[in-house]
C-alpha cells in the first residue's frame, strides 16, 4: 500500500524531474537488460549493486500479463494475438527511480533490471556500469543473434524451375 502511494507520488512529480539520460540511451540499456540471461546479469551487476537498505522498492517484483497485438496482413487492423507473462519492478535509489520490465516470471530478473536502471541514470556511475554490465551483455546478445542469423543464412536456397525436355 505504502509503495503504491510512493509510486503515485512519483508519477505526479515525473514531469518536474530532469532527464538525467537521453531516452534512446535508456531505451537501449533497458532493451539489452531485458534480452539478457538473468544469471549473466546477476554476475555482472552484483559488484555494483548498492546495499539492499539503500534501495527502496516502489513496486516489488510483480508477475502479470501483457496482451500482444498483431496486425491483419502484418500491417492492417490490430488484433489480439495472445498474452505473454511478464514481470515488472520499480525501485528508488538516492533520488533516481529505476524500472524493470522483462518477459517471463523471474522476479529476480525484474528486480536486477530496475536497480541497474536506477544506477545507470547516475552520471558518476553511468560510464563504469555501461562498460562493465551493458556492453558485455550487448556483445553477447549481438553474438547470439548473429550466430542464429548466419546459421539461417547457411540454409538459403536457390530453387530452379525445370523445363521439360531440357
Amino acid at each position: 500500500m505504502q509503495s503504491s502511494i510512493r509510486l503515485y507520488e512519483f508519477f505526479l512529480n515525473k514531469t518536474e524531474r530532469t532527464q538525467s539520460m537521453d531516452i534512446p540511451t535508456r531505451q537501449r540499456w533497458l532493451g539489452v537488460l531485458a534480452n539478457s540471461e538473468a544469471a549473466a546479469l546477476q554476475t555482472l551487476l552484483s559488484p555494483h549493486l548498492p546495499p539492499p537498505e539503500h534501495v527502496e522498492w516502489l513496486r516489488q517484483p510483480q508477475t502479470g500479463l501483457v496482451m500482444v497485438e498483431g496486425r491483419t496482413g502484418g500491417a492492417g487492423a490490430r488484433f489480439n494475438l495472445g498474452e505473454v507473462a511478464v514481470t515488472r519492478a520499480s525501485c528508488r535509489w538516492q533520488d533516481l527511480t529505476g524500472h524493470g520490465w522483462v518477459r517471463g516470471t523471474d522476479p529476480a530478473h525484474a528486480a536486477l533490471i530496475a536497480q541497474a536502471d536506477a544506477l545507470l541514470q547516475a552520471p558518476d556511475r553511468h560510464p563504469a556500469l555501461m562498460a562493465a554490465v551493458i556492453e558485455p551483455l550487448a556483445d553477447a546478445l549481438r553474438a547470439r543473434r548473429e550466430l542464429a542469423s548466419r546459421q539461417a543464412a547457411a540454409s538459403k536456397v536457390e530453387f530452379f524451375t525445370m523445363v521439360r525436355g531440357e
Binding site: N35, T72, L81, G82, V86, R103, A148, K156
Partner: protein
C-alpha cells in the same frame, strides 16, 4: 444437466495419488526436468503456449509435465493459470517485417528479395524413423554463412501490392483497439480482428480440418502460400511510468501470408486477396491453417457463397476452442443421475404403452 453430489472424498484423493504416480512412472528412470521439456520437446511447448494463449516456455513446460504430455490438458492448465495473473499492459503491435528470420519461404516466387531460407524444417526429411536417436548422440554442428541475413526482409506480398494486384490491408481510421475475447464474449457478426484472435488460440486439429475442407472444395479460396516466415520478434511496450517504448524481450512467432485468387466484385477489381495467419512459436501447420480459414471466413465480405462450414463464422469459431469443447464433451462423465432417472422412467412408460398396443388383438 447434472446435479451436485456429495461424498467420494477419499476415492478422489486416491485418484490424485494414482495420477501422480502414473505421471512419474518408474522411479528407476530419471525424472524429466522443465529445461529438458523446453529444449527437447519445444514444439509441444509451442503448441501449449499457442492454444493456452500465454507465451511462457517455463509455464508451458510445467503444464506439459503436469499433464503427462497431454497437450489439451496442458492448454487447460495454462488457461486456468492465466486467470490468476493481472493484465499489466498491452504491447505495441508486433512488427513482423522486423522479424529476425530463422526460416522464410515463398510458394509463389522463387526469387524473393532476401532469398528463401529453409531453416530448421522437417519438410525435406524422408520421415524415416531414425533409430540413431534412440541413443544419446553429439549435437550436429551447423554450418555458418559468411554473412548474417539482412536485418529486414521485405514482405513478399508487398511486391504484388506495389503493382496494385494485391488488396490493400491498412489500419482503419484511428487504428482502434481490437475486441478482446479474454474479456468479452465472441459476438456475431465477428469482425476480422476478433476472428483472428479466436483462430490464433484455436485448436490446431480443428483449424487443420477446416483448412483442408476449403482445399477440397468447401470454399472459394484458391490459395497460394505467398510467404511463410518464422523467427524472433521483440515485444515492445510503452509503460506509463516511463513514457517511452521499451523492448521487454523477444518471442518466436510464425506468420503465413496466403495469396488468394479473386475475380473481383461490385466493390473491388480483380486482384489477389489475403488470408493471414500469425501464431506463437514454430508452427507452420497452424499458421497456414489459420490463414486459409481467415480467408474463407471473409466470404461474405467478398461477396462469395457462404454455404460451407469454413465460411460460417459461428460454426468455425464457436467450436475452435479445445478447452470449451473438451469441457462440454467430457462433462457427460459427471453425474446425470437425476436426469437419467427421469429419462428412464419416461422410456419405461412409453415402452409399456408400446407393448400394450402390440399385444392388443387387431380388428
Amino acid at each position: 444437466m447434472y446435479v451436485a453430489v456429495k461424498g467420494g472424498e477419499t476415492a478422489i484423493a486416491r485418484s490424485w495419488d494414482l495420477l501422480a504416480a502414473r505421471r512419474r512412472g518408474d522411479e528407476a528412470v530419471p525424472e524429466l526436468s522443465l529445461a529438458q521439456i523446453r529444449q527437447q520437446l519445444r514444439l509441444a511447448v509451442h503448441r501449449v503456449m499457442q492454444e493456452g494463449s500465454l507465451y511462457d516456455e517455463e509455464l508451458a513446460a510445467l503444464a506439459l509435465k503436469q499433464a503427462a504430455g497431454d497437450a489439451m490438458e496442458a492448454v487447460f492448465l495454462l488457461r486456468a493459470f492465466r486467470t490468476t495473473l493481472p493484465r499489466l499492459a498491452t504491447s505495441l503491435p508486433l512488427d513482423t517485417s522486423a522479424m529476425r528470420v530463422a526460416r522464410r519461404v515463398s510458394g509463389t516466387f522463387k526469387d524473393v528479395p532476401g532469398g528463401q531460407i529453409l531453416g530448421p524444417t522437417a519438410d525435406y526429411t524422408q520421415r524415416l524413423l531414425d533409430f540413431s536417436l534412440a541413443e544419446p548422440a553429439a549435437t550436429p554442428r551447423c554450418e555458418l554463412a559468411e554473412a548474417p541475413l539482412p536485418e529486414c526482409l521485405p514482405s513478399v506480398l508487398d511486391l504484388l501490392a506495389a503493382e496494385g494486384l494485391m488488396e490493400a490491408d491498412l489500419p482503419p481510421p484511428d487504428d482502434p483497439a481490437p475486441a478482446d475475447l479474454t474479456r468479452e464474449p465472441l459476438l456475431f457478426p465477428a469482425d476480422r480482428p476478433a476472428r483472428l484472435q479466436n483462430l490464433a488460440r484455436g485448436d490446431e486439429g480443428w483449424l487443420l480440418g477446416l483448412a483442408y475442407s476449403t482445399q477440397r472444395g468447401y470454399a472459394e479460396n484458391h490459395p497460394f502460400a505467398g510467404e511463410i516466415r518464422m523467427g524472433e520478434i521483440s515485444v515492445m511496450l510503452l509503460p506509463d511510468e516511463l513514457g517511452f517504448e521499451i523492448d521487454i524481450g523477444a518471442i518466436v512467432v510464425t506468420e503465413c501470408q496466403m495469396i488468394n485468387q479473386f475475380a473481383g466484385g461490385p466493390h473491388a477489381p480483380p486482384q489477389f486477396t489475403r488470408g493471414y495467419g500469425l501464431v506463437f512459436g514454430e508452427s507452420e501447420r497452424k499458421a497456414m491453417s489459420m490463414a486459409l480459414v481467415d480467408r474463407s471466413l471473409r466470404a461474405q465480405e467478398l461477396g462469395e457463397s457462404t454455404g460451407s462450414p469454413a465460411q460460417q463464422a459461428e460454426f468455425a469459431l464457436c467450436h475452435s476452442d479445445s478447452v470449451e469443447a473438451s469441457g462440454f464433451v467430457q462433462h457427460l462423465k459427471l453425474p446425470h443421475y437425476v436426469d437419467f432417472q427421469a429419462e428412464l422412467s419416461l422410456i419405461r412408460t412409453l415402452r409399456a404403452e408400446h407393448d400394450r398396443q402390440q399385444d392388443a388383438p387387431h380388428d
